[in-house]
Amino acid sequence: MRFAIQLELRSLLGSRSLWILSLLTGPLIGYTFIQAIALYSEASRTALVTPQLAGGLDPFDGVIIPTYGAIYLALTLLFPFVAVQTISADRDSGALRLLFQTPLRSSALLAAKASAVLFAWLLVELLGLLVLLIWRLSGGHIFAPETLCLLLGHFLYGIIVTAISLFAAAVAESASSAALLALACTLGSWVLDFAAAGGDSWLAKISGLSLTALLKPFEQGLLVWRVVGGIAVSTAGLFALTLLWWHPGRPFLLKFRGTAAVLVACAVLFVPVRHLSPSWDLTEDQRHSFSPGVRTALRQIRDPLRITVYLAPEDPRMMDFNRSILAKLRRALPRTEVVNPEADQPAMFRTGEDPNYGLAIYEVGSRRAESHSTSPEEVLPLLWNLAGVPPPAADDPAAYPGYPLVVTSSRNAELIFYVLWPALSFVSWLLFSRR
């Protein structure tokens, strides 16, 4: 195994694709970071004059997430080219057939290849860590739990893109068709998400399974165990399929039967994953959660809560309702059932003449209440009344202070991302390609 990892790492370091990825990613991430800092500084100047605005300045949303968006872009568009090479280059050169005849186990060989690909991922993520370091050294605020959550999301995203790319390389006959296949998944997810944004069509339902959607909760500071479990099962399934498909000596029928078995095993494993406990809110201001007092009171509601809401998914009131009530309720009371009759109606056929439109009906056991409000201040008392639970004592947590910061010069970042990193990538490529 150690020898296989050495071989794969050496092959990767000697490949042009890795250093092209590194060369392109540095300036891309640097540019995004520098732009994000400039915009954040601009907003911070106003907040320093008007302190009431400071609470809206969250560096995680203002600087870190946009910069990691560039890393996501690199992982989506460029990384698959590096990943597929680890199998495709060996297949083209005849090395794969030789390796299959060595005492190395097929799984060990795949693990070595995946380790090498994860090294390439680490190289890209190193830029992200550099961003965090520069931001911290500039006096910027970093809240560790939500930042670690984001890093975990990127790690899982890197793992699943690796698994997709290796599987694509295993089934495709050439490196170019493998890259196309892998990009069809990564880029296709992106396009699907864009096309389905805001709607509640079948397209939107499928887009919930896209790779982009998998990363979204981590970017919001939410550690959703169902997503973590889903990625783990999908990755294991893809690796199993790769092991099945990459050996040239396996008859098609065996591959077909094996694929069916892997898919069934994944489907079975997805059942408990779907029932994993909801999520952890790792944001500094606990923006995805009710206050601790409200959560404790909600847990006293014994009967299942059912909410029927008559609002179109693209209606801003529905978005607000979802963010400030429904998402938080689902986290506190996982058994909450939400029904939206309007969601089944295509947006273009809605007449706006439905007398119930805008109404939310709350049912706890046999009791029922109605409201047009989307505000927690009105909805929560209604729930206490409906469930017969005493309202919690006021425990309004301290307001989020905000972290305005004016960074006067981004010269260091420019030097690192535009000059040093590309130069280092180029020198590394020269060094490893000639050794």
Binding site: L7, S93, T102
Partner: protein
């Protein structure tokens, strides 16, 4: 002791409508160099790939010392090196040879001796992709020498080697057989085959034609003793 260590039974393979191998059966004798001889398109490479378990066959079985060998365990018995490949093209020759020596559990001294005996010392730092055709061929033979399977199969091992190099390589291969290994070589140059092989397996159009030592084949073909493989080939194929 089984004289025939490897038995191939009715191996068949079709690519679409093309029948590449048609129920080919043969025996590979122990500790010998067996040459698979046939014109271009005879099915030599398909046969070797099928025997190595690197290409799924439509039908057929392999037995090693009368024991059936399933596809998944073929690599314990056979090691096959394709013709004209440049494995791990971007890596230095020495690194690749050391890697294969390590995974096969060979001592470093053996790897060094293989490098010297195949005159690869001057190329150890060169990348595999930069090797000339003849040097690349010697590099592939070196990989074969480092492997540990009892049967080593080489596709066109002398293609790209000049006469002098070939005459140096043949004794090396002979040493392998005296060390207990068996070699199966696919060769289309009959003179090369005659120099290197003890046994000849003749293929034509995906079909087994005949098998035996040169003198046995000469008798089968009705040629005078000493008339050579060319005459046998022209008569039988």
């Amino acid at each position: 002791m089984h004289r025939n260590m490897l038995t191939v039974q009715a191996l068949s393979k079709k690519f679409g409508t093309l029948r590449a191998l048609d129920r080919v059966s043969l025996d590979v004798p122990r500790n010998a160099i067996a040459g698979i001889i046939g014109p271009n398109g005879a099915g030599k490479t398909t046969l070797l790939l099928g025997m190595a378990g690197l290409l799924p066959m439509d039908s057929g079985r392999l037995y090693w010392e009368d024991q059936f060998i399933p596809d998944r365990t073929r690599s314990r018995i056979l090691f096959y090196i394709e013709d004209a490949i440049r494995p791990h093209a971007q890596l230095p020759v020495e690194f690749v040879l050391r890697f294969y020596a390590s995974v096969f559990g060979r001592k470093r001294t053996l790897a060094e001796s293989v490098i010297d005996r195949l005159q690869l010392r001057d190329f150890v730092r060169a990348r595999v992709s930069d090797l000339s055709k003849g040097t690349a061929k010697r590099f592939l033979i070196a990989l074969g020498l480092l492997s540990t399977q009892p049967i080593l199969m080489l596709d066109e091992p002398f293609d790209g080697l000049d006469l002098k190099q070939m005459l140096e390589v043949v004794p090396l291969l002979r040493e392998l057989t005296s060390g207990g290994r068996t070699l199966v070589l696919s060769i289309h140059q009959l003179r090369d085959a005659e120099r290197a092989c003890d046994q000849f397996i003749l293929l034509s159009n995906g079909k087994f034609v005949s098998q035996g030592t040169l003198s046995e084949l000469e008798t089968q073909a009705g040629c005078a003793p000493g008339s050579g493989l060319e005459q046998v080939f022209l008569r039988l194929v």
